[in-house]
């Protein structure tokens, strides 16, 4: 479930975003904003550049998407870009701009918030793909290593790569699939990931990695 929060004094902004989510069948819910909670997408209305101070410390991960809604004022717009935001909507044209750029916005949301689901009885795991570092095959099972920890599952690498169906995941060894967004660096023998794991690079997969990197 994608966690969306809207910080706005305008009811119509709230309603319009809600209908936008329903229109695109996003698996998302709109939650009340609390300063100590994490959300995946923020829609924040600002009146002037001083308002940004209030939102400096909002909880975010590197996948969080932030959209500002504010006045058509150069200073305010310029300050907003310090926040690494996705888009700045002009409040008076909010509806038109949201519809105009809806394809890009939806594409971005779908890219960021893909899940891998595993179920075994009442045990259900929904892992965010963007937070997976790598997947390892060990005997007859796979181990998914993510920011949150590990998940063991009886499956083979071929099946998991088909299930993930994401260009972000590439096989670099007969026993390893990695998330290319997690690559820190690589050489002819090894791939170094952002969590400091070193993955062996198979000879047969070298060119494949290079192709992905250049694409």
């Amino acid at each position: 479930m994608i966690r969306i929060t809207i910080i706005s004094s305008h009811d119509d902004i709230y309603k319009f975003i809600d209908s936008f989510i329903q229109k695109h069948h996003l698996h998302a819910e709109i939650l009340d904003f609390k300063t100590n909670k994490y959300y995946d997408i923020y829609f924040i209305e600002v009146q002037n550049k001083d308002d940004y101070l209030k939102y400096q410390n909002i909880k975010r991960t590197h996948e969080t998407l932030i959209y500002f809604i504010g006045p058509h004022d150069f200073d305010t717009i310029q300050t907003s870009f310090h926040f690494n935001i996705q888009f700045y909507f002009r409040i008076e044209h909010f509806k038109q701009e949201l519809l105009e750029y809806e394809n890009q916005i939806i594409q971005k949301i779908q890219e960021h918030f893909h899940y891998y689901t595993y179920q075994n009885g009442h045990m259900i795991v929904k892992l965010r793909l963007s937070e997976i570092y790598y997947i390892e095959s060990l005997r007859h099972q796979i181990i998914i290593h993510s920011l949150n920890g590990e998940l063991h599952e009886r499956k083979n690498l071929k099946d998991i790569i088909n299930e993930l169906d994401s260009p972000a995941f590439i096989q670099v060894h007969k026993s390893f699939i990695i998330n290319r967004n997690m690559i820190q660096k690589y050489n002819s023998k090894e791939v170094y990931l952002k969590d400091h794991t070193v993955i062996p690079l198979g000879r047969a997969y070298k060119n494949q990695l290079k192709e992905y990197e250049t694409s």
């Binding site: 009442h122 045990m123 920890g149 063991h152």
Partner: protein
């Protein structure tokens, strides 16, 4: 320091095996009818090799230490047997999930009504729904039927590690009273239908 909920009952397995072996020995020695001895050997192999490990091993187990929460669930009898032998040979449990405590946002406590074999009745499973900061979710059945004390201590330990537990139905408080959870959840169900 770490807390365990559900343990492999290795001592029970050895005890059951000894009892079966004794019975088998008497039957073997008595040799009451032709083929009795072969039957005894087959029976012993099946009981000791498959049935006892399956019975002795827990369906669900979890463990929490200062860094991680580990959980495993054996859905089928075969899963339990495999896990038992893996434990015997490796001398360590293989947990299906390992969750980093520093990535947990909060844990929701809930329950699920599930059919119980063999009389067509219903029972309740206590569910932990672990919400991570990144939006990932881990949901699992957390309560074992015996040793409630172990469970309560593990939950307290989790909270002591700074994990927020949201329990709007006050299920965990009720568990500390030592009463049967099913009665409480049944009441809650009835109230929700009223």
């Amino acid at each position: 320091m770490e807390k365990h909920v559900g343990k492999a009952k290795l001592k029970s397995a050895v005890l059951y095996s000894s009892i079966v072996l004794m019975w088998a020995y008497f039957l073997f020695a008595a040799d009451l009818w032709k083929g009795m001895r072969v039957f005894c050997i087959v029976l012993v192999v099946i009981v000791i090799g498959i049935v006892i490990p399956g019975i002795s091993y827990c369906q669900l187990m979890w463990r929490v230490d200062h860094e991680r929460l580990y959980y495993t669930y054996h859905r089928t009898f075969l899963d339990k047997v495999t896990a038992f032998y893996s434990y015997v040979f490796n001398r360590k449990h293989i947990y299906q999930i390992a969750i980093n405590l520093n990535q947990i946002d909060y844990i929701d406590v809930s329950y699920a009504k599930v059919p119980r074999m063999p009389f067509g009745g219903y029972g309740y499973d206590l569910l932990f729904i672990v919400h991570m900061y990144d939006g990932s979710i881990y949901q699992f059945d957390a309560l074992i039927t015996r040793n409630r004390q172990e469970f309560n201590e593990a939950v307290d330990f989790l909270q002591a590690q700074g994990i927020q537990i949201h329990d709007p139905l006050k299920i965990l408080d009720y568990l500390k009273t030592g009463s049967y959870l099913s009665y409480y959840l049944e009441k809650l169900e009835e109230q929700s239908h009223d």
